[in-house]
Symmetry: C2
Subunit: 324 residues, 2 copies
């Protein structure tokens, strides 16, 4: 069985071998720019991990790995426009560097390229892979839509927030795993449990992102931190703090989250002081552990021997203890 | 054999039966808004026409018809952002009505929905339909990229313009036909000829669009006219006029197409006066006829009896004589 590190190297190398730079250059240069930034390649790694879990032929999983990483990067191109994010992985975002129009069109093209990658899969599996992948994308779009809706609402409940991130972040991680499992021709019940594992890991992953956005710094995180507070994002931290804050603290929070016109530094300091007093970091970490435990429960149910599951357990542990 | 009008009614009805309005509403309302505007449904009609041409089962073609119309409308949502178009089919464009972010995300979702429709096709055909559809979309994106590049360039050749519109407009019409032909399990050589028919019809269609943008009026056309001149679009009209204009006329054209800061009315009148003097409308109509004739040549080669081809011939004739 391949190690986690070996599989990550295969994921990185599989993507590295693809050529994105060709005409029309105004269309493909932003794609090349995005794809050559080697992030953690978490999603294609999950696809390969799922293939290994069910002892599939890794070559059959590579098209799905390529598809999911390309699709993930497509969502980043468009999300960065919507969120007006200037930086990603420590570099200029595509819309900042090339303009909104090119970020839209290059993103669109990346989604189609993702489908082209899926078409390289064994023919008998294509319809099932396409269905799984397309459902995953539609879930991600719904998640992004709810995320934007929540910015305008003042009555978001914590359960709604969890549902939103399970779509926005969980669905793509779960889909990455599902695609790999399909290529290994796993049993439907096992695929379902692996999907649940992915959703819960995704929720935990996003809670960690919220924590890092609040308490990490730019050098470590590779992107601007404190943006959730600046943008009035209704993250778990905010929603939970409203629930447990005193009347006075609640008023401060509601005031700062009602507008984006406050001095950003003043706002960040004031909100973080309340989060600190309310012990929000620890509360969020505990919730993250709860979802991690749910993920482990789902993994437990999958009908392969425990040794085969080691990689996924290690993967989940690394996610829980990352600093970027 | 069904008539052109019957098939158009089936195309319209097939789309009318779909429900787009559900949660998250911020995501699906723009999709509903777009899809309920019943345009000419040209692309799904072409899919059904291709199915009929090869005596296919029309039920098998309907998923492709839905996919291609949804994908076409997706491209409009994003193109209207890039072109900053306020109106489409006489109504506000999605980005004007709902904002850029929603137009991006709803557009993305429509592309995924198009793939979901394709997945309703007979299972044995799905991989081939997906491949054809995806290639068509990638061509369309390349066409849009070239179109935007040309706005920045002063040395666009007429052949480059034709190549661009064969991608931007031709590819989707040709793909519409190809999908229908695949569902009818037509012979590869016949599919190829039908594809060529589509590309050439597409070029003729776009030349007609250029003519209408210049010489039609808002009431007839349903969108703002004169935009190509206002936006310095290097259409055939402009490129050909540069080729045959006198030195003085050429200077006027180059001056007006070097900026968007001129008074729009003054610019439009000056450019149209030159087009008129150079007989550009007739020249463009003749070129349109040339591509129409090429399309007819390709149609001729297809191995079905002439009677079966009547609908497509009538369809092409209608396109050549439309006023919107």
């Amino acid at each position: 069985m391949k190690t986690l590190e070996e599989l990550q190297e295969i994921a990185i190398e599989t993507i590295r071998q693809e050529q994105f730079l060709h005409s029309p250059y105004t269309l493909y240069e932003p794609i090349h720019y995005t794809m050559e930034q080697e992030g953690k390649r978490i999603r294609p790694l999950l696809t390969l991990l799922a293939s290994e879990l069910f002892e599939g032929n890794i070559e059959n999983a590579k098209p799905s790995a390529l598809a999911i990483e390309t699709a993930h990067n497509f969502t980043l191109l468009h999300d960065d426009i919507m969120d007006a994010s200037p930086l990603r992985r420590g570099k200029e975002t595509v819309y900042k560097k090339y303009g909104t129009d090119k970020a839209i069109l290059s993103g669109d093209t990346m989604l189609a390229i993702a489908y082209q990658y899926l078409l390289r899969s064994p023919k008998a599996l294509i319809a099932e892979l396409m269905e799984c992948f397309t459902k995953g994308m539609i879930d991600v779009f719904a998640g992004q839509a709810y995320d934007m809706e929540f910015e305008q609402r003042n009555d978001v409940r914590i359960e709604e927030y969890i549902d939103m991130i399970s779509l926005k972040t969980g669905a793509l991680l779960a889909t990455s795993l599902q695609l790999g499992a399909i290529t290994a021709q796993a049993k439907p019940q096992d695929i379902e449990n692996l999907y649940e594992f992915g959703i819960n890991i995704g929720i935990a992953f996003q809670l960690m992102d919220d924590i890092l956005d609040c308490w990490s710094n730019f050098e470590e995180f590779g992107k601007v931190t404190g943006t959730d507070i600046a943008d009035n994002k209704k993250t778990f931290l905010y929603l939970k703090s409203l629930e447990i804050a005193s009347k006075e603290e609640k008023e401060v929070l509601l005031k700062y989250f009602s507008s984006t016109s406050f001095d950003p530094k003043e706002k960040e300091d004031a909100v973080k002081a309340i989060y600190h007093k309310l012990n929000l970091k620890q509360i969020a970490q505990e919730l993250m552990q709860t979802y991690n435990a749910k993920a482990m429960d789902s993994l437990q149910k999958i009908g392969v021997n425990d040794k085969q599951k080691t990689n996924l357990i290690n993967f989940a542990n690394k996610l829980m203890h990352r600093n970027k």
